[in-house]
């Protein structure tokens, strides 16, 4: 079990690094992010593997690791021991408000992934965007949009326009009157982690960092795309959440929201893990490609749609949502 904890810790650290890489001076370092994503993948495999993950690390010399993808869809039947309690709202509130705005242009720019987005979510984006935005957020995001549009036509560019935000831009977002104060009331189990202010005071704990995508177009298309929050949620599912929580804490259909929240979180992770993560979400074993997709983990089109609808899958996502929240 301690392997799982170790793996979990490494996942958290890795995601934090990927997130931080976006704001590093000089642009996203392709090499470093590739290595981090390799570690992330290894840690994820261990985390999801059998209760005897020690074998993965080849305890007895020379014994190859058993394929860790035995039950990709169910890391644990329920929340793993010690991770069962719902994450505290504070942690959730720490999610920076992600990019509802970039959604708009990015969806239009990258029909490739956007196509798979369920129509409902797309309109949801529209709704989301109706809400007032903190000016700072808006300003920051318009900066993001421009480069993304500019690079929509090309796959080049390590940072893809959203990669590097000089510290100044973070500062600009800081005083956004962010909902940190207005975080979800404790009763909201699934408060989207991303309600909190877009200023990322604790990058290591924030939402799944944007994959160090080299192709901004894909990032954007993925939904959240490469924005500072960088959670290329497949559908704009995650997008909806922050907005709503900002405006009015979800009431009523909260359970649905809760599960959608989790989906959103997972969807964010998908952007990082890429297609190989899809194995996690599918009920059947043998998940996704195992190749390294550190950079471009544009969510595979089909999976996002599945996530939104697949309740049994959502239940299995519990450990992951807690992992995310733990940031």
């Amino acid at each position: 079990m301690e392997f799982k904890l170790e793996a979990h810790r490494i996942v958290s650290i890795s995601l934090g690094k990927i997130y931080n890489s976006r704001v590093q001076r000089g642009g996203i370092k392709l090499h470093k992010n590739l290595l981090v994503s390799l570690v992330l993948r290894s840690a994820r495999q261990v985390y999801l593997s059998d209760p005897c993950p020690g074998l993965y690390l080849a305890g007895p010399a020379g014994i190859p690791a058993p394929p860790p993808q035995q039950q990709p869809g169910e890391p644990a039947a329920g929340p793993p021991a010690g991770w069962g309690e719902p994450p505290p709202p504070v942690a959730r509130a720490s999610w920076p408000e992600t990019e509802p705005q970039p959604e708009r242009p990015s969806v239009s720019h990258a029909p490739r992934v956007g196509d798979e987005v369920p129509v409902t979510t797309v309109t949801g984006v529209g709704d989301v965007l109706q809400g007032g935005e903190a000016d700072a957020t808006e300003a920051a995001w318009s900066r993001v949009e421009r480069p993304r549009q500019a690079t929509a036509g090309e796959a080049e560019g390590p940072a893809g326009g959203w990669g590097v935000f000089p510290e100044g831009s973070l500062a600009a977002r800081r005083p956004c009157g962010c909902p940190l104060g207005g975080e979800d009331p404790p009763g909201t189990p699934a408060a989207p982690p991303r309600t909190a202010c877009c200023c990322a005071p604790r990058p290591a704990e924030d939402e799944p960092p944007a994959p160090p995508a080299v192709c901004p177009r894909k990032r954007g298309a993925a939904g959240v795309g490469g924005g500072p929050a960088g959670c290329p949620a497949p559908g704009s599912t995650p997008l909806k959440k922050p907005r709503r929580n900002l405006e009015q804490p979800p009431s009523g259909g909260e359970d649905d929201d809760a599960e959608e929240m989790e989906t959103g979180n997972v969807a964010n992770l998908i952007s990082i893990f890429g297609s190989s993560f899809s194995g996690l979400l599918r009920k059947s074993p043998g998940g996704g490609r195992e190749e390294e997709e550190g950079e471009e983990s544009g969510p595979e089109a089909a999976e996002p749609g599945q996530i939104c609808c697949d309740k049994p899958v959502l239940r299995d996502m519990n450990p992951w949502s807690t992992a995310i929240v733990a940031f």
Partner: protein
């Protein structure tokens, strides 16, 4: 394992390189500056005093830039400096940051013209009406002035971050390598470069490795090698095809399964590759080892040296504090008999390939009074720490020696320790 730093970031030395004669030593730093040291000529009066290196020239090579299209800041940090062989009185070097390579000419001026007709001594124009006689300006000695001028700027050829430059033995071309591509340049042509390696996959999601270093063969102008983040080295022959995506030789050592961990891939990533002076061997550096490969044997290195194997059990902490991503360089001595590389705590290591002896030395002010002899250091791994040994947990991971250089023919080494440069000479006469 803590890692902290408290010094001016811009002064951190990011590259060190002797020129081909060893007379000059260039350093580049994070602030985009280049400082060149010149070795004192040994004077007749002090025959036994070995030439020391003094500052010869300092100039700003690169400035920070902002790519507005991609909303991307381009660091001014000098990633590499490479000297051209000297062909006249001036010195030429290439310096590069993440995106742009520049050719600098460093030349001396020790005379200046005096006696102009149309200008006075301060350079002010004279009224032609006041000129009644003509004279021929003459050159008079002046205090030595060293000027550096950018002669060529090779820009806009790299989408990713440049990690290496290498001057070809034909002295007409050089290559620059980024994470996914290698370009070949002619020194005279700045608006074009020739792409010779491209490992960018059509679908970036399939990216599995990047180029980490590249170098031309010292004698064969058609041959070069490049290393990858997967711990492999490819040797390419430019005569084989225009685009050298298919290697001529492929060097890879099978992984040791008993050492597998979360971080196996990171520590196998090669951070530096160097041809021996003879051209028969290549040396590679990964996080924990230095390896020497024979060009004629691709399936494993002929020598492997453990630089700091005691870190193997600390990889998780080193991952957390980012030290595991440190890119250490390695160098050969002039005769290819000794190799050197850096470590943490301002330690650096030398391995004698013939005697198989190795030594750990420290670059620090306390230990380096002029004329002092460096004392070998030892890291204690086990429980009992002897006097003078330092335990693994007391190593300072913010003091890392990533860049070192060895004089081409003498036993003089330059060691960059964060923002300090140490030059050590072998005391043997």
């Amino acid at each position: 394992i803590l890692s902290s730093s408290c010094h001016t970031e811009a002064d951190i030395i990011s590259t060190v390189e002797f020129n081909h004669t060893g007379e000059l030593l260039a350093t580049g730093d994070k602030g985009g500056r280049v400082v060149i040291f010149q070795r004192e000529q040994e004077s007749k009066n002090q025959v036994h005093r070995r030439g020391e290196y003094n500052v010869y020239s300092t100039f700003q090579s690169h400035e920070p830039e902002f790519d507005y299209l991609k909303s991307l800041e381009i660091e001014e940090k000098i990633n590499k400096i490479r000297w051209l062989p000297q062909q006249n009185a001036a010195y030429f070097l290439l310096s590069t940051n993440d995106k742009t390579v520049k050719l600098w000419k460093v030349s001396e001026r020790d005379k200046r013209p005096e006696g102009y007709n149309l200008k006075d001594e301060e350079g002010r124009l004279r009224d032609p009406a006041t000129i009644t006689t003509l004279r021929v300006p003459v050159l008079r000695p002046m205090d030595l002035m060293v000027e550096a001028t950018p002669r060529r700027v090779f820009a806009n050829a790299h989408t990713y971050h440049i990690n290496s430059i290498s001057v070809n033995s034909d002295y007409e071309t050089y290559m620059s390598a980024d994470d996914l591509r290698i370009n070949l340049w002619n020194f005279e042509i700045t608006n074009q470069s020739f792409n010779i390696v491209d490992i960018k996959p059509a679908n970036m999601e399939e990216l599995t490795e990047v180029i980490t270093a590249a170098e031309f063969h010292p004698h064969h102008c058609n041959t070069f090698v490049y290393s990858s983040s997967k711990g492999t080295i490819r040797l390419c022959d430019m005569r084989a095809s225009a685009l050298c995506d298919r290697h001529t030789k492929f060097f890879e050592e099978p992984e040791d399964p008993s050492n597998r961990s979360f971080f196996s891939e990171i520590i196998s990533s090669i951070s530096d590759v160097k041809f021996s002076h003879s051209g028969r061997y290549i040396m590679t550096r990964d996080y924990l080892t230095v390896k020497v490969w024979d060009l004629n044997m691709e399936n494993r290195p002929i020598e492997t040296y453990q630089v700091h194997d005691y870190l193997r059990s600390k990889l998780c902490s080193l991952y957390e504090n980012d030290c595991i991503f440190d890119k250490f360089e390695c160098v050969w001595n002039g005769s290819d008999s000794v190799i050197m590389t850096g470590s943490y705590n301002n330690f650096f290591r030398m391995f004698d390939r013939n005697t198989k002896r190795d030594v750990t030395l420290e670059a620090s002010r306390e230990n380096s009074k002029p004329r002092a002899i460096l004392k070998p250091r030892k890291v204690c791994v086990g429980g009992k720490r002897r006097k003078d040994e330092i335990s693994v947990d007391s190593l300072d991971f913010s003091k890392k020696i990533l860049h070192t250089a060895w004089h081409p023919s003498e036993n003089i080494i330059a060691v960059a320790a964060t923002n300090n440069l140490y030059i050590f000479q072998d005391k043997v006469n």
